[in-house]
Symmetry: C2
Subunit: 158 residues, 2 copies
């Protein structure tokens, strides 16, 4: 698909909204990563991985789950978890009942890093996103983002 004939061009306001969204997807990750990296030595993705583990039963989660939670590919997660393991923030071991499955667990030192990183990260999210919007806009944003996400992967119902 995506190439047959002449697709409907974007209206002026559609284009403007898209350009704003595109700018956002380029710039927001940079802001988040910069703050986390500077203050805690973590990327946003690493933060999400640690956060995902910390709020799971037994502070553990299988790789595929975690990848879904952190919005990344399994391959990406595998690389990241290897590095986090080398830094002593997580551990990995195969599941007992199914040897194909790898279960990652956050360590105490990983948990400490996460707890130390959280306030600054939350403050940044607040500063750039939440406090920039009205409560009504926050509600709108969630609906909008979820509708787009539903198009991207239709299954993963949240």
């Amino acid at each position: 698909m995506a190439g047959s004939g002449e697709p409907r061009w974007l209206e002026k306001d559609e284009l403007a909204a898209w350009m704003s969204l595109a700018a956002l997807t380029f710039k927001l990750p940079g802001v988040l990563d910069y703050q986390l990296q500077r203050d805690s030595g973590l990327t946003h993705f690493e933060y999400l991985v640690l956060a995902g583990l910390s709020e799971s039963p037994g502070r553990s989660r299988r790789m595929s789950d975690l990848a879904g939670f952190a919005n990344g590919s399994l391959s990406r997660l595998s690389h990241v978890v290897k590095r986090l393991e080398q830094r002593g923030f997580v551990e990995r071991r195969p599941a007992e009942d199914d040897g194909r499955i790898t279960v990652a667990t956050i360590t105490d030192s990983g948990y400490e890093i996460l707890v130390a990183a959280a306030p600054g990260h939350v403050a940044t999210v607040r500063e750039y996103v939440v406090d920039a919007l009205t409560p009504e806009q926050i509600a709108q944003l969630k609906v909008i983002a979820d509708q787009i996400l539903a198009k991207i992967d239709p299954d993963k119902s949240c």
Copy 2:
């Protein structure tokens, strides 16, 4: 900043909206890049660079301008333009009046690539973003994104 005392935690719905937006900023770029790469051998950033040049007077623009337009750092742009130049899609030369300035120009072959890429790209934007939303939501999205962007770089008024 971003670390003094105990910052206000996120409310449940604030957190939910943020997680949706975060998921979006992780996944949307992948979708866009994938389509453009597969169908035209371009990244979204490269596409924006070519598009920015094509709609500028003389099909030319100085590097800093272009970096701002394409939402990237000057360094990133410099690398990308070098590669695009090697592929024959753009040319570079110093400005006549100020030798520090580099002016990039899209070539005919670059323009062809862009024109060939555009329909598929627009169709993708339509499929995943524009058609997922109501006209009202599109208007909301623009306002929301612009407000967040204004926090990120307060000067760059559009």
